[in-house]
């Protein structure tokens, strides 16, 4: 398919406003300003655009939840806190085409009548923060953002806010807390951000890729967008393929391609002629799929049918040299490190899983360990926690244990597990020693 979101990749000077304008940039923004906000929401609803951050919630519906009669300010937040392991698509968009994001932010702000928008960017993304800030300054100088945009009477300020390095701040309510200057703890819902969000005001939080789709929907129409992919799963999607493939990278493909196409056609197959063993379809928090499930379509509904999720589109490919116990261990350590510590099941369970998998990995497994892992995971997911981080660690681990139980059993028995290179695990942040009495 033609490149939409990544059309600027490889174009020299693609980040500059002049290049963006020459390619028809900000046309969608001009068009939106000529419409009513309700009409903009209608257009996005018709396009069937679904959120690209992980949950796949229809974007137009999310916008329409903002109370129409709310008198005070409301906010748009662009979630650029891209931290999901195996995901690097937002960075790619900002790297090549920051104005695409800014235009999306502007249109979305207009649609929900927000006069202030924040781009919450991952703290480690220093370079991309600078790119965005430069692009905003350029757009502001051209009157595309700021007071009285393009003479329409609409005011819009866009601010870039850097996070401080917590995975949890990618969750929209934790992001809002962090944006307010607080500790990144997800909030108890309801109320949802669309009613009580940033500074207690109605807020819409959208992913970078979601917002990058919006200008194209405005210029080329909802029907065009809906014609890509398949019904209810429309539009182009960025897939970040990493791991044991010959050509890892970010690929723009229509929703509904199969993972086999992604891995074999676009990425040149598994490296070194090895066999595919398993893959994470949407970042490490999506339940793992085995080689037998490679024909699953890469879209929201097909993944849900396969009891996994498209998530952020971070496809992590594992070949047959991989020890699944180590994979589970690596995943467990990541989430134990990133659990915010609020809810009991996630705080205690993620760390407990990591401890069990450490012991198992060191060759001291017990027969009951797989069942204990499954029990911990069962009671950490499906609404046992405030935010989806409970599911994010529990579902992949339980899927690995369920689908590769034989490997766990072999390891427990101390059988023929091949010697493995250990995957790196994150250092543990312990408390500071106190003073006794």
């Amino acid at each position: 398919m033609e490149a939409v979101l990544l059309r600027a990749r490889g174009v020299s000077g693609s980040r500059s406003l002049a290049t963006y304008l020459a390619a028809g940039g900000y046309e969608g923004w001009r068009k939106a300003l000529g419409m009513t906000p309700e009409a903009v929401i209608k257009e996005v609803l018709d396009s069937e655009l679904r959120g690209r951050g992980g949950a796949g919630f229809p974007t137009g519906r999310k916008w329409s939840f903002v109370p129409k009669d709310h008198p005070g300010p409301r906010y748009l937040v662009c979630n650029a806190d891209e931290s999901e392991p195996g995901t690097f698509k937002d960075r790619e968009i900002i790297e090549h085409d920051p104005h695409q994001v800014i235009e999306g932010v502007a249109i979305a702000s207009y649609a929900i009548k927000a006069k202030t928008a924040y781009i919450y960017i991952r703290g480690e993304f220093v370079r991309w923060t600078r790119i965005l800030e430069e692009a905003i300054a350029e757009a502001r100088a051209q009157g595309l953002v700021g007071r009285n945009v393009l003479g329409s009477g609409f005011d819009l300020d866009i601010w870039v806010h850097r996070g401080a390095g917590a995975y949890i701040c990618g969750e929209e309510t934790a992001l809002i807390e962090s944006l307010e200057g607080k500790r990144g703890f997800p909030r108890l819902k309801p109320p949802f951000p669309a009613v009580v969000g940033v500074f207690g005001k109605p807020t819409v939080v959208n992913n970078v890729e979601t917002l990058a789709c919006v200008p194209h929907i405005m210029t080329r129409g909802a029907a065009w967008f809906a014609s890509i992919g398949r019904p209810r799963n429309t539009g182009p999607k960025l897939f970040c393929v990493s791991g044991h493939v010959n050509r890892p990278g970010v690929y723009e493909l229509p929703l509904g391609v199969t993972f086999r196409e992604i891995i074999e056609e676009h990425c040149g197959g598994v490296r070194g002629g090895r066999k595919l063993k398993a893959f994470f379809p949407g970042g490490s928090s999506a339940p793992i799929l085995t080689a037998a499930e490679v024909d699953v379509k890469a879209d929201f509904d097909a993944c849900a049918e396969a009891k996994t999720m498209l998530g952020s589109g971070g496809v992590i490919v594992l070949d047959d040299s991989v020890d699944m116990v180590e994979v589970a261990r690596n995943v467990a350590h990541f989430y134990a490190h990133e659990s915010c510590g609020q809810c009991t099941p996630c705080r205690e369970g993620s760390d407990w899983c990591a401890d069990i998998l450490d012991r198992l990995g060191e060759g001291h497994g017990r027969a009951a360990d797989p069942d204990t892992l499954l029990r911990i995971c069962r009671f950490s997911s499906e609404g046992m926690t405030i935010c989806p981080l409970g599911d994010a660690y529990a579902l992949p681990i339980s899927s690995i244990v369920n689908k590769f139980k034989a490997e766990f059993e072999r390891r427990i028995e101390g059988g023929s597990a091949p010697p493995q290179k250990k995957l790196p695990v994150l250092p543990w942040a312990g408390p500071r020693p106190g003073f006794g009495i």
Binding site: H337, C343, R347, E348, I376, P431
Partner: protein, 557 residues
């Protein structure tokens, strides 16, 4: 008002009530750790999971509001029970389970719930090394709070308390995930003026009060509803005591006054109630103080009262309404004396009530409002000096601690003239000049009512009869000092609440209508004869009973 069914019981509660409170009304217990009625709902401990018919996921009892026709299953839902059991397992996975040496044992929510939630067959699946916080097992957070982070269940009640109630935001979480721990913001000492409430709200033994820990096991304590004597705000308290010794004050719920809080100043007045410097009535004769009997003292004092040319009575804003009323009726109306109530200046104190409003006080007495309501003159130090000046005749000081002026050189000079009778409990210079030295009992042995600065009449109950001379030996036998063996702990000693002495004096001087058997009788006479107290009910003035107060209510099972 929405009607709902909880475990098969129909209940009707006000809209906006959450399921925990609604279930309590239906006599069904939903356990909780992080929920607290006067703090924001965070829903993070996850123990209050219940099943709501028609909802695919389990709901939280703390954050779910009642709705018309809702069908809630707590104990009857296997799914919810399993989830709660799993949460208990998670919480206990890293909890040290050091109950035998933990000072919270007996009043620990985690202990309560683990006894209640887990079936006899349940065993933990935990086989790993427990998480510990080296260096944080026994750490002084501030002057009154000792932290043991290993026991913490991360409910954030203490953090929310400092943010939402005391307003200092002194406590915070540090680190993340399973290594999250409680620390003071910036590492400064936790010197919040209400710091000990952080230990009150702590459901486990992670935060304990330095002054109380290891003094007495919680299950040995008896709680008596009372009113804090620290200032005129009149916070409702429990006096926690054992074998006639006061161990601590804890807050008793009262939304209009102190919600479930207590300031450190008031709380740590508790040990002062145990001080009893004077045990017997004494009479000063040539050659010094001579021990005497109450009967003798009352008879002799009554004779002096009848004979006195001038009678001046220094009452006190620390006395109960009943005692002030008796004093006024007896000494002013019957014996035609003069009475004054000294009121001293005090430190500013404040307390947050259940609506989040601060109540302020600079009055160090618990009952100056009651004295004013009874029409008694309140005087400052100058007024008291004038009142005592030129005093041949008889002067009664009903409470030596009524005003610091009474401990000063000027007061001692003034009171040396004529005859003086002094009711006194703790060491006091007035004891050196009094002709009659009468031992008074503490608040813990008295009963009566105070009027708070906001005008509420609040009753305090007697925790025990006044302490006396008995010292039990190490074997538990009574010491030889003990005159009779009247009760298991020995006779009550001879310090008596003031109202006992006043009713006895009333009988001796012929005011038989004031010779009433108990404070309630005096109160009822006062309600009948004083328009400012008309219509007030003795029972209602008692405030919340023990089982109604949040401290007890949260302990289910």
């Amino acid at each position: 008002m929405p009607k709902l069914t909880i475990d098969g019981r129909e209940v009707e509660v006000a809209a906006g009530t959450n399921l925990i409170e609604a279930a309590r009304a239906a006599d069904v217990a939903i356990p909780y750790f992080c929920y607290h009625p006067y703090l924001t709902v965070v829903g993070q401990c996850r123990i209050c999971m219940v099943e709501i018919a028609g909802q695919p996921r389990l709901a939280l009892g703390c954050s779910t509001q009642v709705a018309e026709g809702m069908v809630v299953k707590v104990e009857t839902s296997e799914r919810a029970r399993e989830a709660r059991e799993a949460v208990m397992e998670f919480l206990l996975a890293n909890h040290p389970l050091d109950c035998p040496v933990c000072d919270q044992a007996g009043e620990c929510l985690l202990q309560d719930h683990s006894m209640r939630e887990q079936r006899g067959t349940f065993t933990s699946h935990m086989a790993e090394t427990r998480r510990t916080f080296p260096g944080l097992e026994r750490r002084l957070l501030g002057p009154h709070i000792v932290q043991n982070q290993n026991r913490c269940i991360h409910c954030s009640r203490c953090i929310r308390f400092t943010r939402e109630v005391s307003g200092t935001a002194a406590l915070t979480y540090k680190s993340r995930g399973n290594s999250t721990f409680i620390d003071t913001f910036d590492g400064r000492p936790f010197d919040d003026p209400m710091s000990a409430c952080a230990a009150d709200v702590c459901p486990v033994g992670a935060l304990t009060v330095r002054e109380f820990r290891f003094r007495k096991r919680a299950w040995k304590l008896r709680s008596t509803p009372s009113v804090c004597p620290g200032c005129s705000i009149g916070c409702n308290i429990f006096i926690d005591h054992h074998e006639r010794e006061v161990y601590r004050f804890t807050p008793r719920e009262n939304p209009a006054v102190n919600a479930t809080w207590l300031c450190d100043y008031g709380r740590f007045l508790a040990p002062s109630l145990n001080e009893q410097a004077y045990l017997y009535p004494h009479n000063r004769r040539t050659g010094g103080l001579v021990r005497t009997e109450w009967g003798e003292a009352i008879a002799a004092l009554a004779l002096e009262l009848r004979a006195a040319g001038t009678l001046r009575v220094v009452a006190s804003a620390n006395l109960s309404n009943e005692e002030l009323f008796l004093a006024r009726e007896l000494f002013v109306r019957h014996l035609k004396g003069e009475i004054a109530v000294p009121v001293a200046p005090g430190e500013p104190r404040r307390m947050k009530n259940g609506t989040g409003a601060w109540l302020h006080s600079t009055d160090p007495h618990p009952n100056s409002a009651g004295a004013r309501r009874l029409g008694l003159d309140t005087v400052d130090a100058d007024g008291l000096s004038r009142f005592l000046y030129g005093g041949a005749g008889l002067t009664l000081v009903l409470d030596a601690e009524a005003h610091p002026f009474l401990a000063g050189a000027e007061a001692l000079r003034l009171l040396r003239v004529g005859a003086t009778a002094v009711w006194v409990r703790r060491e006091h210079p007035l004891a050196g000049v009094a002709r009659w030295l009468l031992p008074a009992a503490s608040l813990a042995s008295n009963e009566g009512t105070f009027v708070s600065s906001t005008g509420a009449v609040q009753r305090f109950a007697a925790a025990f009869s006044p302490p006396g001379t008995v010292r039990r030996t190490s074997t538990g036998a009574m010491s030889p000092e003990c005159p009779t063996i009247a009760s298991p702990w020995g006779p009550p000693g001879e310090a008596r609440p003031l109202w006992v002495a006043l009713t006895a004096l009333a009988r001796e001087v012929g005011a038989a209508h004031l010779d009433l058997p108990d404070p309630r009788g005096i109160f009822e006479l006062m309600v009948r004869s004083e328009s400012s107290f008309a219509g007030i009910d003795w029972e209602a003035a008692g405030g919340r009973r023990q089982d109604e107060s949040f401290r007890e209510r949260q302990h289910v099972g």
